[in-house]
C-alpha cells in the first residue's frame, strides 16, 4: 500500500429547516435563533464536503472507489436530505436542525461507508457560513457517536 492521502468530494443538496428548541419559551426561541425561528421555515443550498482518508492503493492509485462513494452518498445522503424539510426527519426529532447538528449527522452516516475512513465533514450552509466535524472534541479526543 502507498502513502496516506485524503480525498474530498462535494455534494449539493437543498433543504428547508427551522431552528427551534422545545426546551425554550417562544420568546427565548426568537431571542436565540432570530429570523431562523420563523415557524414556516426557510431553506439553503447546502454544500456537503466529505473527506476520506486512507492508504493510496498501489494498484488503483486511489484512496477509495469514487463510484462507490457517489453511490453511497446518493443513497444515504442525497436521497434522504435533498429537497426535504430537515425538521420532519427522524434525525432531527430530538436535535435542533442547526448545521452543526447536520454536520455531526452526516459524519455519523459516512462512518458506515466501508470504502475508506471518514476524516472530516464540512458543510457550507451559505457562502459565508461553514461547519466542520472530525469526530473529535476540542481537546482532540475522539468522541463516541
Amino acid at each position: 500500500m502507498g502513502p496516506n492521502a485524503y480525498l474530498s468530494r462535494r455534494y449539493r443538496l437543498s433543504a428547508s429547516h427551522r431552528l427551534h428548541s422545545d426546551a425554550f419559551s417562544e420568546e427565548k426561541n426568537w431571542a436565540v435563533y432570530g429570523k431562523c425561528a420563523n415557524p414556516h421555515g426557510h431553506g439553503h443550498n447546502y454544500v456537503v464536503e466529505v473527506t476520506l482518508g486512507g492508504r493510496v492503493s498501489a494498484e488503483t492509485g486511489m484512496v477509495c472507489d469514487l463510484g462507490e462513494l457517489d453511490r453511497f452518498a446518493q443513497t444515504n445522503l442525497l436521497a434522504r436530505f435533498d429537497h426535504m424539510n430537515l425538521n420532519t426527519l427522524p434525525e432531527f426529532r430530538d436535535a435542533v436542525s442547526t448545521t452543526e447538528n447536520f454536520t455531526i449527522e452526516v459524519y455519523r452516516i459516512f462512518q458506515r461507508f466501508v470504502g475508506a475512513k471518514i476524516e472530516r465533514v464540512r458543510i457550507e450552509e451559505t457562502s459565508n457560513n461553514s461547519f466542520e466535524y472530525s469526530g473529535r472534541a476540542v481537546t482532540g479526543e475522539a468522541e463516541r457517536l
Binding site: 502507498g2 492521502a5 485524503y6 493510496v56 494498484e59 488503483t60 492509485g61 484512496v63
Partner: protein, 136 residues
C-alpha cells in the same frame, strides 16, 4: 507559525490504466477514465507551507519565489501535457488526483527555502480534490 497557501493552475490530459490488469478489469474499475484516448482537466494546485514570520521582511516565504518554484517544479512539467505519456512519475503510477498530490509533494519537498511543506491539495474539478501531508 503561519500557514501560507499559493495556488497555481495547469491543464493536462490523462487516463487511468493498470498494465497488470486485463482491459475488461481496467474498464470495470476505472469506468470512463480508462478510455485510452485520454481526457483532461483544469487542475488547481494549492501548496501550503508552514513557517515563522521573518521579523525584517514580514514574510514567511517570498511569494514571488514560491510562485517561481511552483512554475519550475510543477506547472512547466505538467501544463498542457499528457501525464501518462509525458511525465516520468506516471509511467508506472496511475495519475489519479491522489497520486498527483503525492507526486507534487515529492517534487517540492526540500525545495522551498525558509518554510516547511505542509499540504499539497490538488483539485481535479471544483467538487473533487485530494490532500497529501507527506504521511508515508
Amino acid at each position: 507559525m503561519i500557514l501560507l497557501t499559493r495556488k497555481a493552475e495547469f491543464s493536462s490530459a490523462h487516463y487511468y490504466w493498470n498494465d497488470a490488469w486485463s482491459a475488461e478489469e481496467n474498464v470495470r474499475v476505472f469506468g470512463k477514465c480508462a478510455n485510452r484516448n485520454g481526457h483532461g482537466h483544469n487542475y488547481t494546485l494549492e501548496v501550503t507551507v508552514a513557517g515563522e514570520v521573518d521579523p525584517v521582511s514580514g514574510f514567511v516565504v517570498d511569494l514571488k519565489e514560491l510562485k517561481d518554484i511552483l512554475e519550475r517544479e510543477v506547472v512547466s512539467i505538467y501544463d498542457h501535457r499528457h501525464l501518462n505519456l509525458e511525465v516520468p512519475e506516471f509511467a508506472g503510477r496511475v495519475p489519479t488526483t491522489e497520486n498527483i498530490a503525492i507526486a507534487i509533494w515529492e517534487r517540492l519537498e526540500g525545495k522551498i527555502p525558509h518554510a516547511k511543506l505542509h499540504r499539497v491539495r490538488v483539485y481535479e474539478m471544483p467538487e473533487l480534490f485530494a490532500d497529501y501531508y507527506g504521511e508515508r
